[in-house]
């Protein structure tokens, strides 16, 4: 089970309304390599992990991804706060406004809704951990693209934190992969 903690993992400040940047940030709210995909991917795969280290790691990284999803949501909420329908339209968010007003919705930067087809759980821990390492790299690259699309210092600080977490998660998944390999290489014969 989970308990909500009424705080963000990392501060999320914005200079002011920036609808263009809000639109781009939807990539990480409901895109293929979004924080939502990451959370659902790891929290789904964990059931079929063969060793305690990997069960724990997927649970804990999956949980951290939910906190990151909240941070991205906060950035979008703040960047769109007070925007008029006309401003949304001019920023390319007219389609979003028609269906969602100023509410958040899990779609990508182009408005494509989130789908479970973005993630995989194969039941093969080696395969799943490789997928996760690739996912962390794709998210890191996406953060680098997003950072290059803004000059808002607050947004850059928050995105830089999230980018760094992708690097750490990649490292931890790599360690889990090594441990799972060792687990399978060990002969399970009892005399």
């Amino acid at each position: 089970m989970w308990f909500y903690e009424k705080k963000l993992q990392y501060p999320a400040n914005v200079r002011g309304c920036d609808l263009g940047m809000a639109k781009y940030l939807f990539a990480q709210y409901g895109g293929p390599d979004s924080e939502l995909s990451a959370a659902v991917r790891y929290l789904t795969q964990r059931y079929t992990m063969p060793i305690p280290q990997a069960k724990a790691l997927l649970t804990d990284i999956g949980t951290e991804e939910m906190a990151h999803w909240e941070i991205i949501g906060t950035l979008i909420y703040k960047l769109t706060d007070g925007a008029t329908p006309e401003q949304m339209r001019q920023a390319g968010l007219g389609d979003h406004f028609a269906q969602h007003d100023n509410a958040l919705y899990p779609h990508d930067a182009a408005g494509v809704p989130w789908t479970a087809a973005y993630i995989q759980a194969t039941g093969d821990p080696i395969t799943d951990l490789h997928e996760n390492m690739a996912a962390e790299q794709k998210a890191r690259t996406t953060y680098e693209h997003l950072i290059s699309l803004t000059d808002d210092d607050g947004v850059i600080a928050t995105l830089s934190f999230l980018r760094e977490r992708e690097v750490v998660h990649f490292q931890r998944f790599g360690e889990a992969l090594m441990l799972v390999r060792e687990h399978y290489q060990h002969k399970h014969i009892f005399y």
């Binding site: 308990f3 909500y4 903690e5 009424k6 705080k7 963000l8 993992q9 990392y10 501060p11 999320a12 400040n13 280290q53 724990a56 790691l57 804990d60 990284i61 951290e64 909240e70 949501g73 906060t74 909420y77 703040k78 750490v168 998660h169 931890r172 360690e175 889990a176 441990l179």
Partner: protein
């Protein structure tokens, strides 16, 4: 009523401490026999619990299983996405 700036300052301290705990916890998931990391984790958890208690007594519950005075204070604004850090 305590001022907003002090609340945010203490919240940021909690964020920093909790981040250190979380990052160490991920490390310990794959290195459960690293004694030094576990000692650091233990120390930081202790400091975090102390600070969280001070914060909650002053500014209200962070979790639904934190004790609240009457009327129930957990619901009070600002929620995390409304805070200017």
């Amino acid at each position: 009523m305590h001022d907003y700036a002090s609340m945010v300052e203490m919240l940021r301290e909690i964020q920093a401490l909790e981040f250190a705990v979380y990052d160490l916890a991920l490390f310990l998931d794959t290195h459960p026999c690293d004694k030094r990391a576990l000692e650091d984790h233990t120390k930081l958890v202790h400091r975090l619990n102390q600070l969280r208690k001070v914060f909650e007594d002053r500014y209200g519950p962070l979790r639904l299983d934190s004790q609240s005075p009457y009327p129930y204070r957990y619901i009070n604004d600002p929620w995390p996405w409304e805070i200017h850090y």
